[in-house]
Symmetry: C4
Subunit: 209 residues, 4 copies
């Protein structure tokens, strides 16, 4: 079983989940302003929606980039791998929901519940992404015969930390919701920069292949 | 006519239908709680939405995995096959609607109508998936010249039961809605496990080709 | 410029427009029943939504199948062709909106306006599909060197009627909305059958290529 | 890293963002008419929604056509390029939101805020599209070895103006909202014509390659 259709399906889910995030911004636009407020006022007070949109879009974008990297090392798929991937995509497609919760509640009473829900979702995402990778990589089960061991080890080392960092951020959110939310944003930003700056180096080093 | 664009279109519908399920969770979130309830309370009482999301996402995921398996045996498409596939996808894209009905009504008066509507939709899905397969497989009409007869027979034997099991679960739902709903969930879970554990074996046995 | 990405984009729009039709069913579900009606009652009185869903899904499905047939004859794309295709897809993506209008208003005062809006949309769809085809086919501009002249002539002959039939159905809808709606349904059904039965013949005859 | 999956993901986001625009038309349909107005009346007074739909769909369509042109010159991607593309797609996927704001407010008090929000979004879109292109083109970093220098220079020359024109139109919108909105429409129309008429010439001239 080659991986072409798996990538089409996964890219479809990534693209749709990311694009549906705009409904997060759109859905309850204006509810932050008192009745009769000007549109300009509503646009300004909705800033948490924009931030939540950016953080979740970047998070899904990073997941997509990393999935790209992972699939480059994979030669073929079996049905177990497909089902684990379906579970993983199920959690990715769930991200727009807690994103909206955070956007709407970060300034109010529900901030704790919203950021914890967000953190639990991202923890599960990271855990299932680990399951996808380690199922494929264990004993080289689904890897390309010519997979670069250095890249394989690099992915394994990076991935294994993900869920624990999200667990830590979720615990922080349970105590200080706003701090947790900032943490989620900074962690996404870290990945963007890591991917761009260090990733450039890394792909440079591996350019001979 | 090769099957490339058919798979792109089908994967698109599968991915979108699955991802739109999140609107099931999002759409009426909070309606389970009394006015003024905390967000944490709303998150807890919405559990049927999450279960419905998981069951329907896994169901669409299994359909996608099986469509993958089916298309691997198919060499080319004719226009009749494309139209049958359109009908099949039409029912798959319908799944988010009864999913929402079940999520919202399973604890109330509408449980029977909602679970029966869900069951009818899945019965039709299974029936049309059979039509897709048997139209292609009858007399080897659209199969690859080198399609493995054992796999072809295996698909035919597995598929033929699907609609009847959904008919049975729908009848159970008509009598005991909650029992029917549990049945839909268990059947999805059975397929996930069957695909993963037995499927692994099966792809193992057929790995030489 | 090859046509691969064009087909991916078009298939994406077809798949999303078709799948979004479910929001037609979902959006105003229950508004047909008096307050306090049972879910079963709401499910029954919503039948126009299901019919509208089926007719529009099949219509988009047929457009997809025909686009498939058209693109099989096309070798490459230029920028004008891409822009005409964008215009064509713009109208296809519009179809869910008049579909909802018909579903909600066919039993009430707005039946005439709704069915006329539906007819105008489908007339424009057919007209722009003609523009896509004839731009590519005129003088063989974008056709494959080995395009079958019989198939090319066949497409041209079939396409040229489409807009006029939709104009006629729209005029009927302006006088007798329900009759017009039935006409849209029958015309979709005619295409499904024509595609399946005659299409099978046709692809049979052309199988040597 | 080849560019296949990048294009699938980008085409997915373009297709979904464009298709979601229909929710712009659908979402608040009828709110322009007084209570009890006929459907025909509502259809007529909603004209700004249709115009906004057309302008934004064409804008996304042009971006897609241009992305097509750009990617034709690009040989491979690195992780920085993927992340810049994710940022670019994030803004494209945002377009449906200010589109709805313009459609709903162009006739009222919020016209200024809505058209400025629209202009800022399109300015950012153009700026990030520039970032995508110049990151790839600088020193030929990601270009195909056989990229046509004339086409590369042509893209660079055309792209560099985009953000400034959107800045200018946004400033106009801040003073005269309706004039700004007309400007956005005319600019989209200009691109459609430029792409179609001049583009035809250009692809003609470059047909030998």
């Amino acid at each position: 079983m080659n991986t072409g259709r798996l990538e089409t399906f996964a890219d479809g889910v990534f693209a749709i989940a990311a694009t549906l995030l705009i409904l997060t911004v759109d859905g309850h636009f204006g509810s932050c302003a008192p009745a009769g407020a000007t549109l300009a006022h509503q646009l300004v007070c909705s800033w948490p929606s924009y931030v939540a949109y950016v953080v979740s879009f970047l998070t899904i974008g990073i997941i997509w980039v990393n999935h790209h990297t992972v699939m480059n090392q994979i030669d073929h798929a079996d049905r177990t791998f497909l089902m684990i991937t379906v579970g993983f995509l199920m959690i990715v497609a769930f991200i727009p929901f807690p994103t909206r919760l955070v956007a709407e509640n970060i300034k109010g009473d529900g901030a704790r519940a919203a950021t914890v829900a967000y953190g639990v979702t991202l923890t599960l995402t990271a855990a299932l992404f680990n399951a996808v990778w380690f199922y494929a990589a264990r004993g080289g089960r689904l890897l390309r015969p010519d997979a670069d061991p250095k890249i394989v080890r690099g992915i394994s080392k990076t991935f294994v930390f993900g869920p624990w960092i999200y667990v830590a951020l979720t615990l922080i959110a349970a105590v200080e919701p706003v701090l947790g939310a900032i943490g989620f944003g900074l962690f996404a930003l870290f990945w963007v920069i890591e991917s761009s700056v260090f990733g450039r180096d890394r792909s440079h080093r591996s350019s001979p292949r």
